[in-house]
Symmetry: C2
Subunit: 252 residues, 2 copies
Amino acid sequence: MSKIIAVANQKGGVGKTTTVVNLGASLAAAERQTLIVDFDPQSNATSGLGQRGNHTGRSVYRVLGGHLPLEEAILQTELPFLKLLPAERDLTGAEIELIQVEGRESVLKAMLDPIRNTYDYILIDTPPSLGLLTLNGLVASDSVLVPLQCEYYALEGVTELLSTLDRVRSSLNPNIEIEGVVLTMYDDRTNLSRMVMEEIRKFFGDKVYEAVIPRNVKLGEAPSYGKPAILYDIRSKGAEAYLALAREVMHK
Amino acid sequence: MSKIIAVANQKGGVGKTTTVVNLGASLAAAERQTLIVDFDPQSNATSGLGQRGNHTGRSVYRVLGGHLPLEEAILQTELPFLKLLPAERDLTGAEIELIQVEGRESVLKAMLDPIRNTYDYILIDTPPSLGLLTLNGLVASDSVLVPLQCEYYALEGVTELLSTLDRVRSSLNPNIEIEGVVLTMYDDRTNLSRMVMEEIRKFFGDKVYEAVIPRNVKLGEAPSYGKPAILYDIRSKGAEAYLALAREVMHK
Ligand SMILES: Nc1ncnc2c1ncn2[C@@H]1O[C@H](COP(=O)(O)OP(=O)(O)OP(=O)(O)O)[C@@H](O)[C@H]1O
Ligand SMILES: Nc1ncnc2c1ncn2[C@@H]1O[C@H](COP(=O)(O)OP(=O)(O)OP(=O)(O)O)[C@@H](O)[C@H]1O
Ligand SMILES: [Mg+2]
Ligand SMILES: [Mg+2]
């Protein structure tokens, strides 16, 4: 039984990529077959898994354009149960080219549906916007996992994200639901974090995961080594928090 | 002699809005006539200045569409020398509507040029993308100020931003230059911050401001009161850092 989850939030820098890379790695550590789809032209998930430059010409953009079969673009990562469909800068072109295409919001769905049953989980990283790339991610998915940074500006974007979700649900993907909300970069020394956490729990109720991701420098250092936190420093608070999140996602 | 500066970086959450709001407020504290243009549909700069909801129907989008004269949309803030051209969610529509328009990258420039000499500084906040809204910001400006977060993923986006700048310079705005690069969210307790700072100083040389913005919770708390840091807590390290940055920008 496979599940496709988009990780999305148009607010920038809230931990979308960090969540995709580390949740993906934690699911793979629990021997769930997992595919990460990097659908952000910044291609941070690709480099966070050490694959920047290893895949020239094998990118999700080239598959979308029909120049490459999907199987040839998918890369094996350091974790046996984790694969990656990498992105390159060329994905920026897709945002403009897709505008002219019939069914432009569903091209990613058409690409992933035939292979979905090969995986237990497919996680899609999206850019900080509500444009065509993110819409494709939402249409291709069974649910959306929302990272919410414990900061004031992050609260403001929530209603915009939910109204976009409603629009997607009423037209392109009637079944999409919220997989869950994960609090990120929580700093228990500040009132700000506590205040925002309370607001988010009040607003989302039991959709908020028990697992809270603390601000932890190891999560910032790991990508510079091209590794998820569980391979960089499995005893760190950041790695432990994402392992706990993976357990919650698996047992929902 | 007025100066229009776009604050831009497509990487999300690096401190663009925090820089626009606090640099703008610091320039105004030094009695420079300053206008902040919120050109991000998230409208965080508008709420960071306490103006969310105070300006219904008076937004930059309505001016772009010709429904409202520019002078009627500009709001006075709590600081005498600081004004704001606010954004609302409707600005998202501009990104799509502008595609059909002749000279679509220059509509903001056409709007600001007639009034530029009323101000010493005009600062433009942009969204985390290199789409039409950010392009309009770059075309309308004399220079671009780049906030760079002291994190690994932030380094990766630099070449993409510089190549976009080259493209803008070769076609739409031959005179645009880099005003400067400001390091943000610097945490002197981590090697990561020091490593990234060294890389950025090596890459950009004297374009990097002496003023380094530390990670400081007051900068995160201030927007929840709708105030820039100098009005929320002028003795905080965050407010002091932005006052120092303003001095450097003024005396460049
Ligand atoms: N819990 C954490 N503790 C410390 N640093 C973190 C944490 N989560 C993410 N980071 C760092 O913060 C920055 C922002 O995170 P990330 O890039 O994952 O966010 P994003 O939402 O994917 O950003 P974008 O909107 O640009 O796609 C990154 O440099 C990352 O390494
Ligand atoms: N120096 C700092 N210290 C502590 N918090 C900061 C600092 N600078 C910014 N912040 C906080 O970090 C978050 C990201 O900053 P900000 O929203 O200004 O970035 P941005 O680049 O404008 O994001 P976006 O890409 O979404 O437009 C905000 O919640 C802000 O309050
Ligand atoms: Mg990301
Ligand atoms: Mg912003």
